[in-house]
Amino acid sequence: MIGETDIHGVFIPTLLVLGIGAFFITLVLQVILRRLHFYRFVWHAGLFDTALFVVILWAVALVTLPASSSGVGP
């Protein structure tokens, strides 16, 4: 388990915090990719967007959590 984050006395699952962060990063990335007309090469944009979010979430978790305490990552 990743545990909970304390925001002014309110405990929120850390995964949720990471998820929200990853969501906004994905949004920004999507805007950039759209500007570059990247989606011409994508077969299924809905699937791609979802997969992109999962990858970003994994990356964010990998960066922010210490390797010893987290269950994610290599």
Binding site: Q30, L33, R34, H37, Y39, R40, V42, H44, A45, G46, L47, F48, D49, T50
Partner: protein, 677 residues
């Protein structure tokens, strides 16, 4: 209901979303998994962008409503009357705000209103749980909508542009046929085409908001969409201008062969018009160009009334052809990422636009919602009725959801019937099936037939509303929780409270919010006349927003009068196309005023005040041609006719002839008097 791949994909995606949402809710021990379950049904739409935008606005609204409940309940929990008053006023305020905008974002305001009631009123007996309940509501709603959004974007998504461009293409082709008939047979107005086109222009405004929420491969071209709206809104007034001018020529008995030829060539061109997805035929185009070129040439150097009208016809036909072709090009560009369409005026950045608001009706709806909630609260407090809170919640929900309709009580009554149908099914599940099952897989299995059925009903336009009511009634009736606690008494009590709440909403809407569609159509027309009078007093050359609003009013009026079978009311007084023509001509006049010598420019003001006077007279019940505006218009026509023939002068003449045709009695004599400079 047809079995198509699209429908099957929707049903599949929706069922998966419901089951997954339920599974996650149970697995993480959430308080009321059924909230997540019916959220999936509520946001489910056949179009991915619509699911995602509804989800986003539902989330925002829920957060705002839960926050409001957190703010209201702790200080007011010991003063129930004040708490009820505050909650009902908040619901009224939110409903009023949501009715100010017809775009999907208004849903957030609705939710903010009644979520406060759902969260706040449910916990008055145990106020210390308010925080947990608020969080649970937000969590479960978010869970449901995330599941729905992911499922509907991954399994065979449908984007809103596909739907819109299909509709644009159909409407454009229909317009072509109608124009062809209108120019030949002088068929005056085809209300169906009017309604269809006006509906499309307003829907472009409303539905385009979904595009922002679409999957990333859907191009975002808001400025192309607005340019398309502008073109589409001009087509009908243009055709009707030509018709009016032609009628004037016929009355004068001086229809020249070349006029007929130009009309016929345009008609042929319009009949061959390929819509948005085809190439125009070049032979028809050349013929059209030749016919249009001949028309003004014939009326050279004459300032007779008939030749002025001929010049008008030529200018309007040319503009019509240009606008229709541009509309087709823009419709193609709408689907095209990064393409710039070939149109005469370059596209600017998208502007902020709004459809007309109806403040009076919004206020009335808000009042009805507040009243219904207060009545339910009064029953709850005075009658010491333990489930009264649920009645108040449902009174608020019922009043909010259908506030856009002319007659909400009829639909609300249908909702009551739907819930009464769903409850026995829920009872069978609750008391006959659930005792026999154990664990999530078997629960999913027994729920699947119902979920499949409701999702299947949602794919049909006709059954969509009923499906939603049944799904909500069913999920609410089951009230699935982590442990099974069968309690027949509480099942009956809480569901009776729901139905009573909805019935209170029915009564409140019957009393305060039932309006005659014909009367409402007259009201909307009148607000349009005010808009024309206002425009005449403060003329501008850019009336695109004004046109959009007028065109929307035209659609609302036509739709109401046609469905009430009162076509006879169209004509002398109610004529949205005439109002649009007058506005267009005022703006053109303003643009062409530069062509006049400075001393003559002042005379335009007298035309504008004549228009404003005429419309004020119309509002007071006079006919539009009652005041004599001919003299002031004739003066300015003479001033324009004295100038050299440039495009600007031609436009000015066209605008003035158009105004004269609309504001004076047909066949009144044109008496140009030189300006006293």
């Amino acid at each position: 209901m047809h079995i198509t791949g699209r429908n099957l994909a929707f049903v599949l995606a929706n069922t998966i979303a419901v089951i997954v949402a339920l599974y996650i809710a149970f697995a993480s021990n959430l308080e009321r998994p059924y909230w997540a379950m019916f959220t999936v049904f509520i946001v489910a739409k056949p179009i991915t962008g619509a699911v995602r935008s509804k989800g986003a606005f539902r989330f925002l609204g829920t957060v705002a409503g839960a926050a409001m409940a957190l703010l209201l309940v702790p200080p007011l929990v010991h003063a129930p009357v004040l708490l009820c008053l505050a909650t009902s006023l908040w619901i009224g305020l939110c409903l009023y705000l949501s009715l100010q905008d017809r775009r999907p974002r208004s849903y957030a305001f609705l939710l903010a209103g009644y979520t406060a009631a759902i969260v706040g009123l449910a916990v008055v007996n145990s106020p210390n749980t308010i925080f947990d309940t608020s969080v649970a509501r937000v969590e479960e709603i978010s869970l449901g909508l995330v599941c729905a959004a992911v499922a509907h974007s991954v399994f065979f998504p449908q984007n809103v542009l596909e739907e819109l461009t299909g509709r644009i293409d159909r409407t454009l082709r229909r317009c072509g046929t109608w124009i062809a008939d209108a120019l030949l047979a002088r068929q005056s107005i085809d209300l169906e085409t009017q309604e269809q086109l006006a509906g499309l222009v307003s829907d472009l405004h409303v539905l385009y908001e979904h595009v922002v929420f679409e999957t990333s491969d859907v191009p975002r071209n808001a400025s192309v969409m607005q340019a398309l709206q502008d073109r589409l809104a001009l087509i009908l007034p243009r055709v009707s201008s030509v018709q009016a001018a032609f009628a004037a020529l016929s009355t004068a008995g001086s229809v020249s062969p070349s006029t007929v030829q130009a009309m016929e060539a345009t008609s042929r061109w319009a009949r061959a018009f390929p819509g948005a997805n085809g190439a125009p035929r070049s032979d028809v185009e050349t013929m059209l160009d030749a016919a249009l070129a001949q028309l003004p040439a014939e009326s050279e150097s004459s300032s007779e009334w008939t030749s002025l009208v001929q010049r008008t016809i030529a200018t309007q036909l040319r503009a019509l052809v240009a606008e229709l072709s541009e509309a087709a090009r823009l419709a193609v560009a709408l689907k095209d990422a990064g393409g710039t369409p070939a149109v005469a005026t370059p596209l600017g950045p998208p502007s902020r636009r709004a459809l007309p608001r109806d403040r009076g009706l919004a206020l009335l709806s808000a009042f009805a919602a507040t009243a219904a909630t207060l009545i339910a609260c009064a029953l709850w407090i005075e009658g010491s009725w333990p489930e009264g809170a649920a009645a108040a919640e449902f009174a608020a929900i019922g009043c909010s959801l259908f506030a856009t309709l002319d007659n909400p009580s009829k639909v609300l009554f249908g909702v009551v019937v739907g819930i009464l149908l769903a409850l026995p099914v829920a009872a069978v599940y609750e008391f006959a099936i659930f005792p026999k099952i154990d664990g999530f897989p078997s629960l999913a299995l027994v729920l699947a037939p119902m979920v499949l059925l409701f999702s299947w009903m949602q794919t049909s336009e006709r059954l969509e509303g009923m499906a939603l009511v049944l799904a909500i009634g069913f999920s609410g009736g089951l009230a699935l929780q982590s442990s099974y606690q069968p309690d027949f008494a509480s099942f009956v009590n809480s569901n009776t409270a729901e139905v009573v709440g909805l019935l209170i909403a029915v009564v409140a809407n019957l009393l305060f919010r039932t309006i005659d569609p014909v009367w409402n159509a007259l009201r909307i027309s009148k607000s349009g006349w005010y808009a024309v009078a206002h425009l005449a007093q403060r003329p501008t050359s850019d009336i695109r927003d004004w046109t959009l609003q007028m065109f929307d009013r035209l659609g609302l009026v036509t739709q109401r009068l046609v469905s009430a079978k009162r076509q006879d009311l169209f004509g002398r007084r109610i004529d949205g196309l005439r109002d649009l023509r007058v506005g267009m001509n005022l703006a053109t006049l303003q643009r062409s005023s530069d062509a006049l010598p400075p001393a003559a420019r002042k005379s335009i003001t007298s035309v504008e005040s004549a228009v404003s006077e005429a419309y004020r007279g119309l509002i007071q019940g006079e006919s539009l041609t009652h005041r004599d505006s001919a003299r002031s218009i004739d003066q300015v026509i003479a001033a324009f006719a004295a100038q050299g023939r440039t495009q600007t002068v031609e436009d000015g003449v066209t605008a003035l002839v158009g105004l004269r045709l609309d504001l004076t009695v047909l066949g009144s004599r044109y008496l140009p008097q030189p300006l006293n400079l």
